[in-house]
């Protein structure tokens, strides 16, 4: 089955769909591992939103591509290099601080992305963006609240969240290395960066966290299907059944 995405808009959208899917999968790992029951439920909620969002986006992509394949084909039959999520979201759940920092950095980014997609010429994308913005609002409040609690809580929580920030900021630079597709389908890619920078800087400062200088990193671009080592493990777990039983319907 040829799962190559050929249309430019679909190529742009699959980055968002994959980002949503992979983060959903990471958060699903937290199910029954949360710090307390209410938080467990909150993380599952966000994970469900992300899976739902990914599925809707894959449907739009499949439509654009003439429905030669389905959302499930895209999720379960593509290899690492055919995935186009930002590397940030495949980073593991080292501890609860990693979960929160990753979510926060992601939420600011997608909040602005989907805000800009309200101007899309594709009415289905606009419809989805409207729905997503409501969900992201909730997720953003949740992750930002925790940034504050952890940043200002105890010495230990501050140290843990600082270490998560230090690590994960490495995966931010690539997000803003926009290509022609980004510039075509985003209303204002420059603004995406400035909104993100302002929010992150203000929040870190308010939470007694430092934004350390990061040296330019040698890292291939997610837009070309390059990843950290984590993605292979994530996919091999996620795709195991459809790959092991290719003829089965689930």
């Amino acid at each position: 089955m040829d799962l190559t995405i050929k249309n430019n808009e679909a190529k742009f959208l699959v980055r968002l769909a994959d980002t949503s899917l992979i983060l959903g999968q990471r958060l699903a790992e937290m199910c029954s591992n949360g710090p307390f029951l209410e938080e467990d439920i909150a993380l599952s909620n966000i994970s469900l939103d992300l899976f739902g969002r990914a599925e809707e986006m894959y449907k739009i992509i499949c439509d654009i591509e003439g429905n030669n394949f389905t959302p499930d084909d895209l999720v379960f039959r593509r290899n690492e290099r055919e995935y186009f999520n930002i590397k940030l979201v495949e980073q593991p759940n080292e501890d609860f601080a990693w979960v929160i920092v990753r979510q926060f950095l992601h939420d600011i980014y997608v909040q602005e992305v989907y805000t800009q997609l309200l101007n899309s010429e594709n009415s289905e994308v606009v419809g989805l963006a409207q729905k997503v913005l409501k969900e992201v609002r909730y997720s953003y409040i949740h992750s930002k609240d925790w940034m504050e609690r952890l940043g200002l809580g105890t010495e230990e929580s501050n140290a843990r969240v600082q270490s998560a920030v230090d690590h994960q900021l490495k995966y931010i630079e690539e997000i803003f290395a926009f290509d022609e597709l980004d510039k075509t389908y985003l209303a204002d890619s420059d603004q995406l960066r400035s909104v993100w920078e302002n929010d992150v800087n203000a929040t870190l400062a308010a939470c007694n966290l430092e934004r350390k200088e990061i040296m330019p990193l040698t890292m291939r671009d997610f837009r070309d299907g390059f990843h950290s080592e984590h993605i292979g493990h994530l996919l091999s777990i996620m795709q195991y059944l459809p790959r092991a039983y290719p003829d089965a319907k689930w």
Binding site: Q25, A28, E29, C31, S32, N33, G34, P35, F36, L37, E38, D40, I41, S44, N45, S47, L48, F51, G52, A54, E55, Y58, P71, D72, V75, F76, D95, F96, E148, R149, L150, L152, G153, T154, E156, S157, R160, I237, M238, Y240, L241, P242, Y245, D247, A248, K249, W250
Partner: protein, 309 residues
Amino acid sequence: MDKFEKAFNDIIEKDLKVEPRDWMPEKYRKTLIRQVSQHAHSEIIGMQPEGNWLLRAPSLRSKQVLLAKIQDEAGHGLYLYSVAETLGISRQEMNAQLHSGEAKYSSIFNYPTLTWADMGAVGWLVDGSAIVNQVSLQRTSYGPYARGMVRICKEESFHQRQGYEIMVKMAFGTPEQKEMAQDALNRFWEPSLMMFGPHDADSAHSSQSMAWKIKRESNDHLRQRFIDRTVPQAEYLGLTIPDPNIKWNEETGHYDHSPFNWDEFWNVVNGNGPCNQERLDHHKKALSDNTWVREAAAAYAVKTENVVA
């Protein structure tokens, strides 16, 4: 008999509900705490065997259905912990009792989930047997528990349908899928029946619980109801109940079955099932790995709201 006890007995006799502020015998309270906390722990520990397949769910739809289901169970646990709290025990105490082994949870969750078909079998059989039990508990004498059951039963019947839907897909799928479906039924059939507890004659807490109307129907009665409704569902799937003596009895109007392996049941209850240790360790680890998170939240609350933690 003092006037409080008389009022309590009146409530029970008239089939009214006991409410948290009513006087109740200490043993009634203790029995309820034991039962409700065990029920709550079952919901929570039950998240694990299903969580085992969450990351490997084979379609976007099944992944979302399973995650939503597990989340429902967490919600049931939360709700039931609050019911227990109205009886004067804290969630912390309940967790401590779970970890020390003083409080139990349903033994069924000590069995491993070995294939995707187990997600079907668990929904179909485990939620299925839970529903039979919980529908009966909608009439339990303690008000908050009874109302909780009404709410929870609605979701449980979704779970059962979704589980059965997986069984249908598997049983009518490829030969390998059908084999997984049969294998899942083989492993979960008897443990699901034992979820109803020991035979009435051997049930330690039953008679007092029935008198207080905490329990409304006996273990054996509920178990038979479950068998009678489940056997035809297995037949529809073209699967074989792993009991050669299952057959319809015209005279009794019920299905006959073989005696159960109670030695295995008690062995698992007493901690020696396939996953007892793993389930408890998982629960303890999630809590202890995140002590620093709860401490941070408490410290933050003190700093910002001047609330004493």
